[in-house]
């Protein structure tokens, strides 16, 4: 048997490509949990203090900043490999069926990961320009806080107000919620798919994995989506 197949060929083979997509996808899914924990602080009825401290920490901690660079690279890597995969797969069937019923044997989300991913990519671009870019480089007001325990005063950017103003615009709220639907569908296939791709699946474990993937996908996205809705309606917890 001849297996003189170079490492780069192994990593760009049909399995190699999906392993890259799966590993970056797992990292991005974990990032979503962290991101969500930060966002949920926006719902606290404290004038944005908790969120502002959190955002200030995330924006200035060197370790977090390092991980965030990796995160950006992984978003691009995940997207490019995914699109690459989708184009190659399209080419594998040059003549389409005249009559085809893919709905009879598979889920819509699983067949449209590239489309859903593209929607999410557009969302991320808008999201970064509206929030991340403004947080980092925008001319935004400062808020002053007094820590009751240590007696320290702090003057930090009022990130929460930027978000608040953003979510007063209905179109942003609608765009955000719609994007979360796309993300939920994407993850509903992606999470369980990553386990399968990494070989961590069998017949006995598959139903549990499907449940974990589905709960994760819809749970995370529902929590993300509810924040702009509640902020638009001026409801705090």
């Amino acid at each position: 048997m001849q297996a003189d197949i170079s490492l780069s060929k192994r990593l760009t083979s049909s399995i190699g490509k999906k392993i890259v997509v799966a590993l970056t996808g797992v990292f991005l899914s974990l990032f979503l949990i962290i991101h969500l924990m930060g966002n949920l602080q926006l719902l606290k009825n404290d004038g944005g203090e908790a969120f502002n401290h959190y955002a200030e920490f995330m924006g200035h901690n060197p370790l977090i900043q390092f991980v965030s660079k990796i995160n950006f690279a992984f978003i691009l890597g995940h997207a490019f490999w995914g699109i690459f995969l989708a184009f190659k797969n399209r080419a594998a069937r040059p003549t389409l069926y005249a009559v085809n019923k893919p709905g009879a044997n598979s889920r819509w989300a699983s067949r449209n990961m590239a489309l859903l991913g593209t929607i999410i990519f557009v969302f991320i671009a808008v999201h970064l320009s509206k929030f991340w870019f403004v947080f980092h480089y925008g001319d935004i007001p400062f808020a002053e806080y007094h820590d009751g325990v240590t007696g320290e005063f702090s003057r930090i950017k009022d990130y929460a107000t930027v978000v608040d103003i953003g979510f007063e615009q209905l179109w942003i709220v609608i765009f955000y919620v719609a994007s979360m639907f796309a993300l939920a569908f994407h993850l509903s296939h992606g999470v369980q798919s990553a386990f399968q791709t990494l070989g961590l699946n069998n017949k006995e474990f598959a139903p549990t994995l499907r449940t974990i993937g589905t709960v994760f996908a819809y749970g995370i996205c529902a929590l993300f989506a509810i924040i702009p809705v509640l902020m638009y309606l001026n409801i705090t917890l």
Partner: protein, 247 residues
């Protein structure tokens, strides 16, 4: 029963093809779809027309020759079935039935509904074998294999190489086929010698044949006449990762 048929006609690999309408009457509900095709062809021959070329061999559901995509499904609408085991009673009287060849870049049409699946043979030639001498058939329990492994290997070995997985896959990926062969051999002691290279060699050949890449959609498992499980693909991925790291 009577049916309106739309059948893909294509003179040879290079000629353009098209769906041609036929009407057929007096079809018994107990005929298989292939038997209905026989009746249609006899009719065409009587009318001095070219009969429809289609592949068939055993007509008992084990040869995997019948490369037909029927009404938008590989081997038609019945689960775990080949075309010879698809009976006309599964259709409604007067229904329009569209029959196309399996479609994939790696399965070129030879004529009408017949496609060549030599790509599968070339994938097998790259690693779907054992090269140790295993002697004659062993006495029972002479070669201990855990029951669970034996069962899983047997389930994987049920693959008949029909190509329905690649035909049904939106990516035209042959991953279920390759995974069945890799899983079957990797679970048994005889298959251990080439284990580190098998997955790499077979996947490399699969890619070179122009099959797409698996994205875990699962249409293959749903359409497989032998109900080969997706867990074999997870095993193939493990074998691939193992081979990449180990060698």
């Amino acid at each position: 029963m009577k049916f309106n048929l739309k059948i893909w006609r294509q003179k040879n690999a290079n000629a353009p093809g098209k769906l041609v309408d036929y009407k057929i009457d007096n079809v018994s509900e107990d005929m298989s779809l292939l038997e209905m095709m026989d009746v249609l062809n006899e009719d065409l021959v009587r009318k001095n027309e070219e009969p429809v070329a289609f592949d068939h061999d055993c007509r008992e559901g084990i040869c995997g020759m019948c490369s037909m995509y029927i009404n938008g499904r590989a081997h038609g609408p019945v689960k775990a079935s080949t075309t010879c085991q698809l009976y006309m009673r599964n259709f409604t009287d007067g229904e329009t039935i569209t029959i196309e060849p399996f479609r994939a870049a790696a399965f070129p049409v030879i004529r009408d509904l017949a496609v060549t699946r030599s790509a599968f043979d070339r994938i097998i030639a790259k690693g779907g074998f054992v090269s140790v001498s295993t002697g004659k058939a062993q006495d029972a329990n002479n070669l201990p294999v855990p029951k669970e492994d034996a069962d899983k290997a047997m389930d994987a070995a049920a693959c008949i190489g029909c190509g329905a997985c690649a035909a049904a896959c939106p990516n035209a990926s042959a991953m279920l086929f390759v995974s069945a062969k890799v899983a079957h051999l990797s679970l048994l002691p005889q298959g251990q010698v080439e284990r580190k290279e098998r997955a790499l060699a077979m996947i490399n050949q699969m890619d070179e044949e122009g099959f797409g890449s698996c994205t875990n959609i699962g249409a293959c498992e749903a359409e497989c006449p032998k109900e080969i499980s997706l867990e074999n693909i997870a095993r193939l991925n493990r074998e691939y990762i193992y081979a990449t790291v180990a060698k």
